[in-house]
């Protein structure tokens, strides 16, 4: 038993393990970069880095082909920690190395936390528009809204992860059960013709439009068009099965149980305790050319309690940070009248900055100590008179 523990300790503190993991890390980055042409940046992050094992489909069978980012990064973290615990003794002369390694540990933990916690959204605003929510790039949700009340809407959302599982959802705020009958992450909407196959939809736009599943696209200039067939099941007269798609402009309405409802599939929303109004979007070009110089959005930030009511300028490399969210200028469209902001929620956003600062200070201290020691040694050598 003792031998086993010692072997384990020797394995985890080994410098050979560090080198092997760094080589694996480089290979991982290289292979993932090549695979980016097939999957796009988001796809490879999930397939190669934010996973313990990289799986590849070969002739319909998923095979593990490489250790994933979590595996390599996790082992590297263990290796670093173990080496420090087992070997390292703190002395003033090694303070720089210690701080550098601590920074590296923090960087690895920061990346892990970013992978787990970071959420990306976008906010699309026309000039004059006010919004208090941002929308997800990738996640979608079915939103069922009780619109009977004249002042407020009561919303129940069902994430696409449940739709993919063909889940049946009974929510206490809904008088019916929601059953996902089909979910297509990418689809093509077509008009139903005489030759079309029978539709799953029994009501709404699905009577006219049909969604055909398509392979998912990862190209940067294409977008997936998710669609779903959702049945609303009630004890008495069920509202029926709807075709929902992010490709359909507006929610579909129906009445049930004496109340008015609307149902839609839309990008997942996060509502914020403040609202943003696009006052003006500017697309500056270099004089006499069409070459872009700067993109910026003048935004009015308002909170319902009146605590904040101010204008801010969001431009490239100059984001707005507010209430735990960061708003970056990400794009524009509609002849420069619509601005697209990227909205990022990452509670661990400061960690990489702190980690890099620690590593910098550590390296400067370590090299500084060495330099001072070297200079002192050299001086001492020079001051010794030559013996004839």
């Amino acid at each position: 038993m003792k031998t086993l523990l010692r072997d384990l300790r020797d394995f985890f503190v080994s410098l050979k393990l560090t080198v092997a993991l760094l080589v694996f890390g480089m290979l991982l980055v290289f292979a993932a970069t090549l695979d980016q042409t097939n999957l796009g940046i988001w796809g490879i992050q999930q397939k190669w880095f934010r996973t313990f094992i990289v799986w590849q489909e070969v002739r319909g069978i998923s095979l593990p082909i490489f250790p994933g980012g979590y595996f390599i990064g996790g082992l590297l973290l263990l290796n670093l920690l173990a080496a420090h615990i087992a070997r390292f003794t703190f002395t003033g002369r090694k303070a720089g190395i210690f701080l550098t390694h601590l920074g590296l540990i923090l960087l690895l933990i920061g990346e892990l936390l970013s992978g787990l916690w970071q959420e990306d959204f976008h906010l699309r605003l026309n000039e004059g528009d006010t919004k208090n929510y941002a929308e997800s790039y990738r996640d979608n949700e079915v939103a069922l809204t009780d619109i009977t009340d004249a002042t407020f809407d009561h919303v129940v959302t069902i994430p696409d992860a449940l739709l993919e599982r063909h889940a049946s959802v009974q929510h206490p705020k809904l008088p019916f059960r929601v059953v996902a009958k089909a979910y297509y992450p990418n689809s093509l909407l077509q008009m139903r013709g005489p030759a079309s196959p029978p539709s799953l939809a029994t009501t709404g736009l699905g009577l006219e439009v049909v969604a055909a599943p398509q392979p998912m696209t990862y190209k940067p200039n294409e977008a997936n068009l998710p669609s779903t067939y959702v049945e609303l099941v009630a004890p008495d007269a069920s509202p029926g099965t709807f075709l929902l798609s992010t490709g359909l402009v507006a929610p579909q309405r129906f009445d049930y149980g004496g109340r008015s409802w609307k149902i839609t599939l839309r990008p997942k929303r996060i509502y914020e305790p403040f609202s943003l109004t696009l006052v003006k979007f500017s697309h500056d070009r270099y004089a006499g050319t069409a070459i872009p110089k700067n993109f910026s959005s003048r935004i009015k930030l308002t909170t319902p309690d009146g605590r904040d009511d101010r204008e801010v300028l969001v431009s490239m490399n100059n984001p707005l940070r507010y209430a735990g969210l960061t708003f970056y200028q990400a794009g524009f469209e509609n002849n420069d009248r619509t601005s697209i902001l990227q909205v990022v929620r990452n509670p661990s956003w400061l960690l990489p900055y702190v980690a890099c600062a620690m590593m910098n200070v550590g390296l400067v201290a370590q090299f500084g100590l060495h330099l001072v020691a070297f200079v002192q040694k050299r001086r001492a050598k020079l001051s010794v008179p030559a013996v004839a």
């Binding site: 009561h154 929510h171 077509q190 190209k219 977008a223 402009v249 507006a250 129906f254 002849n335 009248r337």
Partner: protein
Amino acid sequence: MTPASSSSNHCLRSRRAALALALLLAGCGKTDPASYRIPKEKDAELPASMTRPAATAPTPAAAPGGPLAGTAVPPAGGPGLAWTAPAAWQPKPVGAMRKGSFTIPGDAGATADLSITTFPGAVGGELANINRWRGQVSLPPIAENDLAAAATRFTANGLPFTVVDLAGADPANPQRILGGMTPYQDAMWFFKLTGPDALVAQAKPAFLDFLKTVKPVTP
């Protein structure tokens, strides 16, 4: 405390810790339904053919064409097109799915609507889209052989346009659609002017000139 209860407590604590960790790793209930109350929101503009209650049969006029032209979309991102509209056209806020939107004012308060939308892929091809528009103004579908006669083609700024002029067949409500489409970067872009027959006919030269201003956005 008996060893058994201590062990079961320990087990419970471990389970709780595992559950907490699982929740943390899963991003705290990302897959659960949620509910909330919000102040009333205005929906995206709905084309007339879509403003009918659910669970009713499609109207004959809507059946072959239906709402799809009004619903086109591609969720944003990627390269786009830019255009220059006549000063008299009033730009409207784009809905969630429109790339551009204008009101074309006419006499006696009449207005026509110009929508600019785009769909990934070929969206069923030219014929299907033209027949969809024909359906919206109560015209019968045409066959592949009739396509050459029904559509005008030209190229502007490197973009090949197919344009149709569809005068409605309903004398009680004479509507007209001027539709232009062009493929660009794996997507089909639609420029559709809809409104009263006389107004749309009058706006046709301006619409054609407008299409000639459409060009890819300079990166």
